[in-house]
Structure formats: structure tokens, C-alpha cells
Symmetry: D2
Subunit: 349 residues, 4 copies
């Protein structure tokens, strides 16, 4: 849990709704619901997504913490209703009397939380794990991140992200062709992407204690996205082969101001923002639900079998980058509030 920008999220993939409560925002921050919804829309798009994503359109409802378009300083509640809940009402019922084994399953899906989760929580029906471990829950995190971004916007901070590689593809045309090829054989693909935040104040984070380092906090936020398996700053992934004389970002003066010609450090030195753009790279693993199923085990009778197929995305790297952007926004909003007084916002900084 972050110190100032505190939030909890909740919700099952096919439950009634996803919910988040955010605690710690200053009063007076303008909350633009359309912006939040546009972020939700960005998460649902991208080449390689299945049919469901293209049709559905998540929207957020705010039920606390905002009045007449501005935050009150009190906790915000964000809700995203599941538009398909009608069809799942019985299967996901809260009530004991509705118990059913419809849609239950017992075959572990490699790459998912099914196995470890069912051991940890002592569950026979793997749906009881799937429902919370699904990527569906990242929708509400994108909404939370959108609120964080509104705070960052207030401070003039900007951001963008970019897909760097999918399979062997390194540009948009190649991405599409890689995805098409994978799709044609029932396979899936991951990808590498980059998120950049600019105009950050110098000194977010700190070198004085390990758990205050900005890079550590960002790494946690991004690595805990279900599909992310690698996180780097700047050219850090190549830090083993670039010698010191080339890696470190030399400092020069231009018009009396400190400037750099490179940003291999990705904007973080000593666990703090250094005035250069914050550049975070991450690798998403391929989606683990494949049309060509993987070998696995059925836990109900402990026999070898092949994995259950549920979803039809081939590649979701664009969505994943949106989630990473959101997660990083939360960390930065927290640090901004630790650096600046944050009980209320004035019109300008």
C-alpha cells in the first residue's frame, strides 16, 4: 500500500462489478469522468484482441468523494459494472443456496494462478481462483490510474507509451503480421513496451532508504501486473554490455541549465527522478490461454490432460501498456503528494 495515495480494489471477473476505493487525494481536484472512461476504452483496444473486447465498453460510476466535479478530500469510490452479469448471476451468486457446479473446472491452466492459488486458498473449483486472478481486474486499476493521472496533469506532467517489439516485429506493420501468424496457428504472443512520464519534478523518491526508492516502487507496481515478467529503466536491460563510459548520462550546460544528451538511466538516479523523462520498459509474457491447448493436470482425478480454453485474445500488449501507465501514475501521484502539501489543490502551481 502506498503511503498517501492509498487504494484497495475488489471484484471478480464475472461478478456484479469491480470496485475501488481511493483514499488520500487532496480536495479540489477536478474529476473528469469522460477522461476516465477514455482510459478504460484504451485498455479495451489493440490489435489482436478477441471479439468480446471490441463490443463491450466499460464505464465508471463514482459514488463518493466527488461533488460538483471536484474531489472533497474524502475517499473516492469507483465502480465498473459487468455488463454481462445477468448471464453469470447464478454462477457467481453470493448466496449459499445458489451453489452449483455449472462453469466449475478442475484442470490447471499453465501460466495462470490456478494451481498455486487453489493450493494456497484450498479451493477445489478453480473458478474460485480464476475469477480474481483474471486480467479483468486491471480495468478498475486503469480507472484508479486515470484519477492519479488527473492529479499529475494538474502539475503539468505528461505521458505516453509505445510498443517496442512483438515476436520479431519492431513496427506496427510487423506487429500485425506477427499477430496474424500466431492467430492462424492458435498461438499467442507477448511483447515489450515502454511507458514515459515527462515534466516530473526532480527528487521524487529517495536514496535514503530502500523502500523509498522510486524505481523500486515503480518496479513493484508494474511487475505485479499479472502478465508482466520483466521491468527495466531506460537502457537498463543492456546495462551488462554497455561500459560505464557510455552508459552514464553526462551533464552539460545549455542556457545556464543542466542538460543531458542521453537518458540511459531512464530518468532515475539514486532512486530519484533526475529531471529527465522517466522511461520504464516492460515485457509482457504471451497470453496463457491458447486454442492449441497445453499439457497439464486435472486436479479432480489427478490425471494428465490438456488445458481448458476460455478466451480468444491473441495479443494484449497494448492493453497491458495502458495498465502499466496507470500503475505508474499511482506511484507518481503518491510521490507528488509526499513532496508537495496535498490537503487541497490551488488553481495553479
Amino acid at each position: 500500500m502506498l503511503e498517501k495515495f492509498r487504494f484497495l480494489t475488489a471484484g471478480e471477473s464475472h461478478g456484479k462489478c469491480l470496485t475501488a476505493i481511493i483514499e488520500g487525494l487532496p480536495a479540489g481536484l477536478g474529476i473528469d469522468v469522460e477522461f476516465i472512461n477514455s482510459e478504460l476504452k484504451r485498455r479495451q483496444q489493440g490489435y489482436g484482441r478477441g471479439g468480446r473486447m471490441k463490443i463491450e465498453s466499460d464505464t465508471v460510476e463514482i459514488t463518493s468523494g466527488v461533488r460538483f466535479g471536484k474531489t472533497l478530500g474524502s475517499p473516492l469510490t469507483l465502480i465498473i459494472y459487468n455488463k454481462d452479469f445477468e448471464n453469470w448471476q447464478k454462477i457467481m451468486s453470493v448466496k449459499a443456496e445458489d451453489e452449483t457446479d455449472e462453469k466449475s473446472f478442475s484442470t490447471y491452466r499453465p501460466g495462470h494462478a490456478d494451481y498455486a492459488g487453489s493450493v494456497k486458498y484450498n479451493q477445489k473449483d478453480l473458478r474460485n481462483i480464476l475469477e480474481r486472478s483474471s486480467a479483468r481486474k486491471t480495468a478498475i486499476e486503469v480507472a484508479v490510474g486515470a484519477v492519479a493521472k488527473l492529479l499529475l496533469k494538474h502539475y503539468g506532467i505528461e505521458w505516453h507509451s509505445e510498443i517496442l517489439q512483438i515476436g520479431k516485429g519492431k513496427n506496427e506493420e510487423e506487429f500485425h503480421s506477427e499477430i496474424d501468424s500466431a492467430k492462424s496457428v492458435g498461438d499467442t504472443l507477448g511483447g515489450k513496451f515502454e511507458v514515459v512520464y515527462e515534466n516530473l519534478p526532480i527528487g521524487l523518491g529517495s536514496h535514503v532508504h530502500w523502500d523509498r526508492c522510486l524505481d523500486g516502487k515503480v518496479a513493484q507496481a508494474v511487475m505485479s501486473i499479472p502478465a508482466i515478467k520483466s521491468v527495466s529503466f531506460g537502457n537498463g536491460e543492456f546495462g551488462y554490455e554497455i561500459p560505464g563510459s557510455k552508459f552514464h548520462d553526462e551533464m552539460f550546460l545549455k542556457d545556464g541549465k543542466i542538460v543531458r544528451k542521453t537518458n540511459n538511466a531512464g530518468g532515475v538516479e539514486g532512486g530519484m527522478t533526475n529531471g529527465e523523462p522517466l522511461v520504464v520498459r516492460a515485457v509482457m509474457k504471451p497470453i496463457p490461454t491458447l486454442k492449441t491447448p497445453l499439457n497439464t493436470v486435472d486436479s479432480s482425478n489427478m490425471t494428465e490432460t490438456t488445458a481448458h480454453f476460455e478466451r480468444s485474445d491473441t495479443c494484449a500488449v497494448e492493453a497491458c501498456a495502458v495498465v502499466a501507465e496507470a500503475r505508474i501514475a499511482c506511484v507518481l501521484a503518491n510521490e507528488i503528494m509526499l513532496m508537495y502539501p496535498s490537503d487541497f489543490l490551488t488553481d495553479k502551481v
Copy 2:
């Protein structure tokens, strides 16, 4: 701060001592001081280190929390005295009347905390930043991690680490030759390494909330090591090019038990340990203090200059791997204590 295995560390690079307090350990854990010292020794070794490291030998003193070789359940204090403090006593004095500008400096060293730290903490003498941002502070973290490892040992957990690449070198002979070459031209090198923890219980961490995911916590712990710029799990760094059909670790049965033939996930699925070895890879950037100095700026008169040279290591990847091992041990000890009852340890599990 972790929930159960809580600790704070303190100490300047040339101060009297480094100190840590660990709070939350069970009573009855055997504390082997020789083991802690051997870990401190491991941190000081490795091909490519300068003269100072080879001579000095850190040792820990425990001043609380342990009696007759076993923990009491109360906080442990660990202290590592600086053997060279006599020469720094005046320069690092706590007393106002000792103020001096001996050893002060004003030239930012690229790749260090100097610039961002001095802006954040409003310091003119960059030594006031250097002293805490130095890698020296990782010594006490290794001691803390050694205590965590003693808890892990009690549960039968094992670990090792390995250097994977330095420059273009991929084995020990090549590492030495890469380091020798860099040293001969006054340059420095980073490296890639892997830390492995085995025999972990299934289900450490959780998929239910982002800040409970084990991979996120490990990523924070490793990425906040000053020189680390990239962290991955298993083959996660290549997750963008390995298709789903090859990436995910299929499950089979052998003698009635679930087994896998691959471990691309690095032992983490859904933010939890899955019974396979936990494999964490990280990239250390090259040491930023070079004999061939980098271009930079002198903050005292805002002129361009070249960076100050203080230390003489060429490569410290082995030490960095020891620090990463220690940091990961702390995260795992915390998770173990969240999973098992942890007020006191019985002799066997």
C-alpha cells in the same frame, strides 16, 4: 516496509557505523553470527574489486533481540562498525562545531544520486548525499538478509546465485578478460546475474491484490538496489519473442506428483510461488565512478567540468548478486511469516 519482517537501516558510508533494526522475528530462531559474517565477506569479494575491499573485512555486532544464541521475539539490532572511521571522525562529525569543508565537493557525478539528491534535500556539499547513497549501505542489508536466510534455512529453503554475463563474457574466464580490458582503459562494467531460491512452499504471495503479489515485492526489493536497472523472472526478459505454446510451463505427473519440464515463469504464477525454483534475473549497470572521468557540471559555479573520482572498483556484479540474494531473502522471510504461525519456532517443521 514489509508487513511482518520489518526493518530500518541507517548509516553513512564513512560514518561511525551502519545499523539495522529488525522487528517481527519469531522467538527461538538460532542466530549464527559466523554465517552473517560469511555473507558479509561474500559481498566484499569478486573479481574486479579495488584494493580497499580486499583488505577490509566487515563483521556484525548484535546488541539486542538475541540471547544465548536464539532470538527472543524482540527487535534485533545489527551494527557494522566502519574500521576506517578514525580517519573520518572530524569530516563526518555529528557536532556543529566540527563543521569543515574538507572532503566536500560540488561536482555532480553522473549516474549517482548527487544531482537529484542535492536538489531534493537542498544540500550544497554533495558529500551530504554521497554518504548515504553509496553502495556501502548495502553491507548492513546483507546482514539483515543473512538473518532472513536463517529463517528460510529453518524451513529447508535453499539458494544460490550465478553471474550470467559481463560485457560480452558468458563464463568465468571471459568475465575476467572483460574486466581486465575495461580496467586497462579506466572503464567499468556491469553484468547480468541470476538468484535462485528452491524448496519454497507453494502459495507465497497472492493474486488477490496487486500489493500482495510476490513478484512485485521481489521486484521492488531488487530494483531499489542502487545499481540495478532491470529485473526479470525466469525467461521473462524474452517473453516478447517466445510464443505462448513454448513459454508456459506445462504440467505433467510423475509418481503422482505434478512436475514441469520448463521453468520460464521463474517459479511465479499469478503472483505466487508455484513449487518450482524462484528464478530472479537482474542487470547491474556499470559502476558510475570512472578513472576516465565523465563530462558534468560543477554546482558551486555552474560550469562544465569532469567528474570527481573516488573509488577504484571496475566491476562489482558478484557483490551486487549477494545484495540481491539478501533482499529477496527478506521478502521471502516476510511471506513465510505471513503464511505460517510465527510467534516462536519449534525445533523442526
Copy 3:
């Protein structure tokens, strides 16, 4: 925030709903919605409440974390809808375009958060403070506490509470007559009450660090109830006049077990439960909204005036005791989960 039983609550007094998310519960805990609703009902009753309370009846909706009557280990969302929201929809609208000054006010109510809150959060319309500082928000806390109680029940823990004094009254008949008298002159009354938890395991909390002491955690949970101004354990409030020879609870043996004849310590020694009933006493101040208004200041024009009257309760001590019970349940549930393994519950302990 507690370490294991984590929760955030949200909601304005006249907003659409109150919401809570609870994170950290074990899987397999039976969730009896009727029990939660009966707790909500208890909070709405008691001699001295105004008309609104008697008519309304809060009920909870659970939208995540529970399936077929049992927890999943994932976060629970609890929602209590405001049955009167229709009449407040415009006044409490999230949308900027609905801005209105209907129901706004500027006269500070002594004893409320109005003054400090409006300074802290820079608000002109004191409704923006009133809406979150209202006792209304304790409804969702009672629901959260009811979930905690279900966990405590599983471990055989029991509880009850009792009103000790209202005005000069010391029994139920006297309470009623005190309340009737106060009501007849437009005044209000506080009271003193006691909450008792029994069958707790020995050793909840700890003496080893100040922020792990059970009494401190309970004191925080109870003192932060808006109207509570005093908290004691056992006969602690009289600890200044009872000498040591009489205060401390001597230990004897009965059938080979340790027994005590007194419980002045209220079940806590050294910051830990000691096997005796946990006895927490608290004093609620009188309700600050009086029919006979208090002198105060109008912030809009900085003139002296008298306070705004909104609510009609004369005494709410019974409700306050229910809230205290709930808060203490949360602290105890957290400590239980720190003491016992808590990923899933077995049928029996």
C-alpha cells in the same frame, strides 16, 4: 491501516451509498448476510434516537469476495445504499454542471469537524465537510466489523456490551429519565459504556514494539470514533487511586489452571491478551447538534451567530457502543490472523 485485515471505507452521509472494501480475509469463511444486517439494525436503535433512525433500516449488499456463502480469499465489497438518495441526488451530484448552493451552509457547528475541516480542505460550503464527518459513515464500519465478528465467532470468541452511565443515570430506568429530561429542554447527552470480548487466545498483540501493543491498537480504533473522547481498559480509569496491592490481578490455581479473582487490567498485560476477558470502556461526548443552539461564527461574513440544527437525536450511546464493538472486532480479527495461519479456514479449529 491494520496489517492483515485491511479495509478502506467511503461514502458521504447523503451520497448514493456507503462502501467498504476488506482485503486479507481467509478463504472459506461463512458470510451470513443476515447477521451483518442485524448488526446494522442494532446500530440504528437505542433510547433517545430521533424519528429517522426508527424508520430506516440499513441493509448490506456484497458485490465481491463471496461465492455461495463463503469467502474466496479475495477482497470483499460491502455497500449500504442510502434510501433517501433520491431527495439528495442533485445536492450531492458528482457532476460539475449540477452545482448548486441548495443545502450549503457556512455556520460552524461547535463539536463538529466543520471548522478544522474547512480550513484543512479549503472549503467554503461546510456541507463538503459535514457529509464525510457525519456519524452516518459508522454504518459501513459496523458492517465491516460484523464480517470481522464472523471470523472471531469461528474461533469461539464471544462479546457483549453494556451502557454504564448516562448523565447521572446508572441503570436502564435512570438512563431513560435522564434522556427524557435532556430532550425536554432541547439538550443532548453522552454516556459511558463497556465492550467485552471473551475466549480470546492468550498473546494477541505484543510487548516487543509500541505499535504492536493490542491496547494501543484498540485505543486507536475506539478513540477515532467521532464522538468518543475517552478510552480505558478494565478499571484503568481509576488507576490513579487504587494502590498497587489492590490493582494488580493476582494469579491462583484452580484444577491446575491459572485463574484470577479480579480483572482490573481489562484482560491486557504487557500489550497482550492474558486470557481474561478484554474489557474496554469508553466515554461518548454528548451529540453536538442541539435544538437549543450554541454560539458560533458564520464563516461567510465572519459574524457571531448560533449553530445550524439538523438532526434530532438526544442520545446515541447504544449506537456508539455497537460501533466500538465493531471497531474492536476488526483489531482482534487482524491479530487473530497474525497469530494463526490464515489463508483458508478449516471447518473446526
Copy 4:
């Protein structure tokens, strides 16, 4: 653990030293070691203390985080050495080979942590509990609080405390006579005291979430002092008998500023400071170690016996008030840092 002013303390009563690490202070705060030592001295004084206290004089050593009299922004280490350690070196040895049962004991002392602590931590030698549960550990907390007070001083905040009642005594002469009487019969006494902090900014703490209320945080900090059993704000202890028309602190205007004629709320409304003095009252129970021993049980053979006598204070209320002052200072320093930017201090505010 507080959010910004984080600290851990460590140390056994007869161990080598007590240690604290404070993390989160701004850089540039003047650290006056003499002030810290004078606070330690205040804790050791007071009518009713035994011989040991009068002779010994604790002093602090700072080994990190301060240079040339000012904080660096890095963690502070505070150490208080035990001047009597020479005599306890073997008995409190860290080494397994020194194990001895000298000074071990098995008779539970009622009112102490002995019983609950030995059950929780599975200890046979009750010294393993006594050593950490002793009031000795409050010495280092007073040192930590003194550092917090230096931050408060910088913001113009002032404080004082006062003994209100000891036994039946209500002024200093009566206190002495009550203590003399108790001492003459081998008994002990507690007391009631008041700590006041003045010139606090309005709005420390918050009404928006229960764990942000200032009164709750203060209550935890004070109630977790080993001997404290009751905590109140202002006249809150009498809130059950003072009607609303008299309890709430009316507001008036004087020279255009808001003033009050009473402070029954003790300076906190809605969980926030309201500009009036913060008034915290607490009751300390009598010291549980009596010359006239209490009935109890010997755990080694489970027989009834009388308690072990170790210390000779009759009353320690003055010391306890100093500890409470220190604890409250920590909470206030934390809140100040959450309200104001706190990376570095300027010379004046």
C-alpha cells in the same frame, strides 16, 4: 508505524544498549544533543523513584543521519548505552555458549507481560520476556520523541505536562504525602496526568478515514505505554455527565479572529486539531512490582507462590508523563510532515 516519521526501537533492559532508527526526517533540522539528554534526565526524575534512577544518567549517542549539527535527510541512529552492562554481560550474552540460568525466574508477576509473553513466545525463563517488556525501553522512546520535539519547535509549537492526581492527592504537597504513605507500607501508586501541546496548525489529522484521525493516533501512542490504562482528550472523561449545551466549545469573535472560552474537546474536533491547545489526559496504573508481594503462580512447577521483587520505585508518574509527551511528539511530527513539504527545512517558516 507512522507514515512519515517512521521509527523502530530495540534493546533489552539489561542489554548492552537501547537503539532507535528514525527514518523520514527532513534535511537541515538542527539536532541539539543536549536537549535530548535533558529530556532523558527528565524521565529519570520525580518523587517516588528508587535509588538507581537518581544515580544513573542516560545520555544519547547519534551515529548516523546528522552531520555538523544538522540532519541530512537520512535515517538517524540513536543509542543509549546501559552503564551497568558490565555486570550483566554474561547473563544477557548473545552467544549460545554463555547460556546460564543465573537471574532466570519462573514466577509470573501480575500486572507484567510475564504470563502472556511467555505463552506467546514459548519461553520458560521469564527474563526473556521481562527484558523487553520493562519500562527501561521507554528511555529510547524519549530520545526519539526529543528529536520529534525539535521538529515541532521549528514550527513554533510548545508543550508542557502536569500531574493531576496521585492517590487522593491533587497538588504537589499531597502527592508527596501519598507517595510517602504508600512507600511506608511497601505499596505503589499510579496517577493521572495531562500533556498539552500549543500553537499547533489547524487541521492535523483528518475526519475522512478512521486511521487518519489525530485523536486515534495519539490514543494508540499513549495507550501503548506499558503502564497507561486510560486516555482522554480535554474533559472527555466526564463527557457522560456534562450535557451538550455545556460540553461543546462555543465559538466567538475577538479582533476578527475565532476564539473559544472553553476547551472541553481538548483541541480536537472531527479527528483534527482545531487551533485550541491539544490536551491529552492519561491514567498510569500503579507499578506492579511491590515490596509486599502479590499472590501468583510459579510456572516451573505450577504451584501457588508470591511474586518476585526486583525494583524499588513507589511511583513513576512524572516519568510516565515524559514518555507520553515524547510519544505524542512523534505523532505530531508525523502529521506536520504530512501537512507541510518536508524534504528540507528552511531557516524560518
